[in-house]
C-alpha cells in the first residue's frame, strides 16, 4: 500500500500541491486526473521518491520512502515518465534489460533475461527485440519503455508490494494499444501485491478502467473516490471549465453502466 499524507509542495513561492492525502491499495486501478498544471506529475514524482515535499510523508507499506536507498526502492517501485530522452543506438532488448538494473549483481542472469522476454511478450515486442530503438515510432518506443519498467518489478518481492507509477502512459499509443494496455494493467492487477497509479487525461478511458480516481485542481484534491463519484458533470465543469455542450460530449461515456461495469 502506498500512502501519501499531508503532501504540500512549494516551488519558487508557488504552491504546486496543497495538503494531499491519499491511499493507494494493491489490486485496484488508481487514476490521477486533472487539467494541465494541476500538479499530477509533481504528485507522481513525490510518490516515486524523486522529489521531496515541503511537508507530508510518503509511506511504502510501513516504510517511509526516505528510508529506502535508491536501488532498494527501484527494486520494488517502477515509474514511467512522460518523456523519454534516450538518443543512443541500442537494441530494443537492451533497453528493456536496463530495467533489471536494481536486481543485477554483475552480469544479468538467465532469469533476468527471461523476465525481459516475458515483459516484451506482454507488449507485442518480440519481433522488435533486435531492432534499433532509434528506428522505432513514438508508440513503439513507449511500449519499449513500458516493457522496461514492467521488467523492473517483474518478480514478487518476498514481502510487501510492488508499485507501478505511470505518467500519461497512453500519449503516443493508438486506440488499439490504449485499450490493450489498460486491459493488460487490469490483468496484472490480479496479482494482488501490485499497486498501480496512472496519470491519465482521457476521461473515456478513465471512466472505463478506473477503480478509483483522484481529481486534482490547482494543486488541491477536487474529488477522490470511485469513478461514479468523481466523474460527475459538476466536478468536470468545475475543474476543466467546460461549457454544458462540451460536457455533454463526455457524459455518455461514464453514464452508460453497461460500458463500465464489465472491464
Amino acid at each position: 500500500m502506498l500512502v501519501l499524507s499531508g503532501i504540500t509542495c512549494i516551488k519558487n513561492n508557488n504552491v504546486l500541491l496543497k495538503d494531499i492525502s491519499v491511499q493507494w491499495e494493491p489490486g485496484r486501478m488508481h487514476i490521477v486526473m486533472g487539467p494541465n498544471g494541476a500538479g499530477k506529475s509533481t504528485l507522481l514524482r513525490i510518490a516515486a521518491g524523486q522529489l521531496l515535499p515541503a511537508s507530508g510523508t510518503v509511506m511504502y507499506g510501513d516504510r517511509p520512502v526516505t528510508g529506502f536507498s535508491v536501488k532498494e526502492l527501484a527494486a520494488v517501485r517502477a515509474a514511467l515518465s512522460q518523456q523519454q530522452e534516450l538518443a543512443f543506438p541500442l537494441k530494443v532488448r537492451e533497453v528493456v534489460l536496463m530495467g533489471r538494473y536494481p536486481h543485477i549483481q554483475g552480469k544479468p542472469t538467465l532469469t533476468d533475461k527471461r523476465y525481459c522476454r516475458e515483459a516484451m511478450g506482454l507488449l507485442d515486442l518480440e519481433d522488435l527485440s533486435e531492432r534499433d530503438y532509434l528506428s522505432l515510432s513514438g508508440g513503439e518506443k513507449q511500449r519499449v519503455h513500458f516493457a522496461r519498467v514492467l521488467a523492473q518489478i517483474w518478480e514478487r518481492p518476498p514481502n510487501g508490494c510492488r508499485y507501478l507509477l505511470l505518467d500519461e502512459p497512453l500519449t503516443f499509443l493508438d486506440v488499439h494499444y490504449q485499450f490493450r494496455f489498460m486491459r493488460q494493467l487490469k490483468t496484472l492487477l490480479q496479482q494482488q501485491d501490485l499497486v498501480i497509479v496512472a496519470v491519465l487525461h482521457d476521461l473515456h478511458i478513465a471512466a472505463k478502467f478506473a477503480d478509483n480516481i483522484l481529481l486534482l485542481h490547482k494543486g488541491r484534491m477536487a474529488a477522490h473516490g470511485s469513478r461514479e463519484e468523481v466523474l460527475t458533470p459538476a466536478h468536470i465543469q468545475q475543474v476543466y471549465q467546460l461549457d454544458s455542450e462540451d460536457i455533454a460530449a463526455v457524459i455518455p461515456v461514464y453514464h452508460q453502466p453497461t460500458s463500465v461495469s464489465h472491464t
Binding site: Q50, F88, V95, M98, Y101, P108
Partner: protein, 342 residues
C-alpha cells in the same frame, strides 16, 4: 546488454596496438631495429652494462615516449566516452568543457612561477597544478551553466559556457607566456599545441598510476552510465544514484585528463573521434566503449605520434596538430556517412 557480437573486437584491437607500438618503438628521428630493442631489453634484464647509443636512446627516450603515448591516448578516449555518456551527447569531449585549457593554464602557471621563484618541488607538482587548473575551469563551466530553475544543464548552455571559459583560460595561458622568459614561453607554446617529446620515466610512472586507477573506476561506472542514457530522472528511478555518479565521473575525468595534459599539453579530437567510431562500429554499451576506447585511443595516438615524428624528420610536429589535422576530416566523414543521433 550482452550477446553483442563483440567477438574479435578486443583481440583485433590488441593486435593493432602491438603492431603500432612496435612501429612506434622502431621509427623516429633515429630508426632503431628490433634487434637493438631486444638487445636493450636483454641487457636491462640481465644486469648488463655498456649499452650502445641506440640502445640508450631506446631505453631513455623512445620507450618512455611510446608508453606515455599509450597511456595518454587511452586516457583521452576514455575521457571522451565518460563525458559523452554523462551528458548524453556525442559531441562533448574534455577539451570542450574547459578541462584541457584549465589544465594547460595550471601547468603554465607552474612553469612560469616555478621559474620565477626557483622552486621545483618534486615530480608531482606539475600534474597537481594541472589538476587544480582543470578542476577550476571544469567546475566553473558546470556551475555557471546549470540553470537556477531546476539545476539541469542544457547542452547548448554548456557548450557556450565552455567556449567562454576556454577563452578565459587560454588568454590566461597567453598572458603567462607573454610575461615568461624565453625558454618557458617556448615550452608553453609548444605545449598548447600538444607534444609528447617531454615524456620521461617520471611522467610515465605518474601517468600509469593515475590512468590505471581512473580507467578501473570508469569501468565500474560504465553499467550505471548505460542507464544514464535513459535520462537522469529515469536512471534515478531505475536505481542509479545519479548525483554521486555524476560527481564520481567528473572527478575521474578531470584527474585523468589533467594529468595527461600536464605532460603533453592540449591534444584534441582523440576524445571525440574514438568513441564516435566505436559507437558506429558496435553500439553504445559504455562497458564496451570504455574498454575498447582505452585500446583504440592508445592505437590512434600512437599512430599520430609516429606521423608526428616522421613527417618533418628529423624535426617533429606537435602531436596536437596531427590529431586535429587527421581528426577533423575523419569526424566530418563519420557524421556524413551515418545519419547520427543528436
Amino acid at each position: 546488454m550482452q550477446n553483442r557480437p563483440y567477438n574479435g573486437v578486443f583481440p583485433g584491437l590488441t593486435i593493432l596496438l602491438v603492431a603500432a607500438v612496435l612501429l612506434s618503438a622502431c621509427l623516429g628521428a633515429i630508426d632503431i631495429s628490433i634487434g637493438e630493442i631486444a638487445g636493450a631489453a636483454g641487457k636491462l634484464f640481465y644486469n648488463g652494462s655498456n649499452y650502445t647509443l641506440h640502445e640508450r636512446i631506446f631505453l631513455e627516450i623512445r620507450l618512455p615516449r611510446v608508453l606515455f603515448c599509450l597511456l595518454a591516448g587511452a586516457a583521452l578516449a576514455v575521457g571522451g566516452v565518460l563525458l559523452q555518456a554523462l551528458f548524453r551527447n556525442p559531441i562533448i569531449e574534455p577539451g570542450l568543457i574547459g578541462t584541457s585549457s584549465g589544465a594547460a593554464f595550471g601547468a603554465a602557471l607552474y612553469f612560469v612561477t616555478g621559474a620565477m621563484f626557483h622552486f621545483h618541488a618534486g615530480v608531482w607538482m606539475l600534474p597537481l597544478a594541472a589538476c587544480a587548473g582543470a578542476m577550476l575551469a571544469t567546475f566553473m563551466v558546470l556551475g555557471l551553466s546549470g540553470s537556477k530553475e531546476d539545476g539541469k544543464t542544457g547542452i547548448v548552455t554548456l557548450l557556450l559556457m565552455g567556449i567562454a571559459i576556454n577563452a578565459l583560460f587560454l588568454s590566461g595561458t597567453g598572458f603567462l607566456s607573454y610575461i615568461a622568459r624565453d625558454p618557458q614561453a617556448r615550452s608553453i607554446t609548444f605545449w598548447n599545441l600538444g607534444t609528447l617529446s617531454g615524456a620521461n620515466w617520471d611522467s610515465v610512472i605518474i601517468t600509469a598510476v593515475v590512468v590505471t586507477l581512473c580507467c578501473w573506476r570508469a569501468m565500474a561506472c560504465a553499467a550505471k552510465l548505460n542507464l544514464l542514457m535513459l535520462g537522469e530522472e529515469e536512471a534515478q528511478l531505475s536505481g542509479v544514484g545519479v548525483k554521486r555518479l555524476k560527481i564520481e565521473v567528473m572527478v575521474i575525468n578531470v584527474i585523468m585528463i589533467a594529468v595527461v595534459t600536464a605532460f603533453t599539453g592540449v591534444i584534441s579530437f582523440v576524445g571525440l573521434v574514438v568513441p564516435h567510431f566505436l559507437r558506429i562500429w558496435k553500439g553504445a554499451d559504455n562497458r564496451y566503449l570504455v574498454a575498447a576506447g582505452a585500446l583504440a585511443g592508445a592505437i590512434l595516438l600512437t599512430v599520430a605520434d609516429i606521423a608526428a615524428r616522421l613527417l618533418l624528420r628529423p624535426a617533429e610536429l606537435p602531436i596536437g596538430i596531427v590529431t586535429s589535422l587527421a581528426g577533423v576530416p575523419v569526424l566530418i566523414f563519420l557524421l556524413k556517412k551515418k545519419k547520427y543521433y543528436f
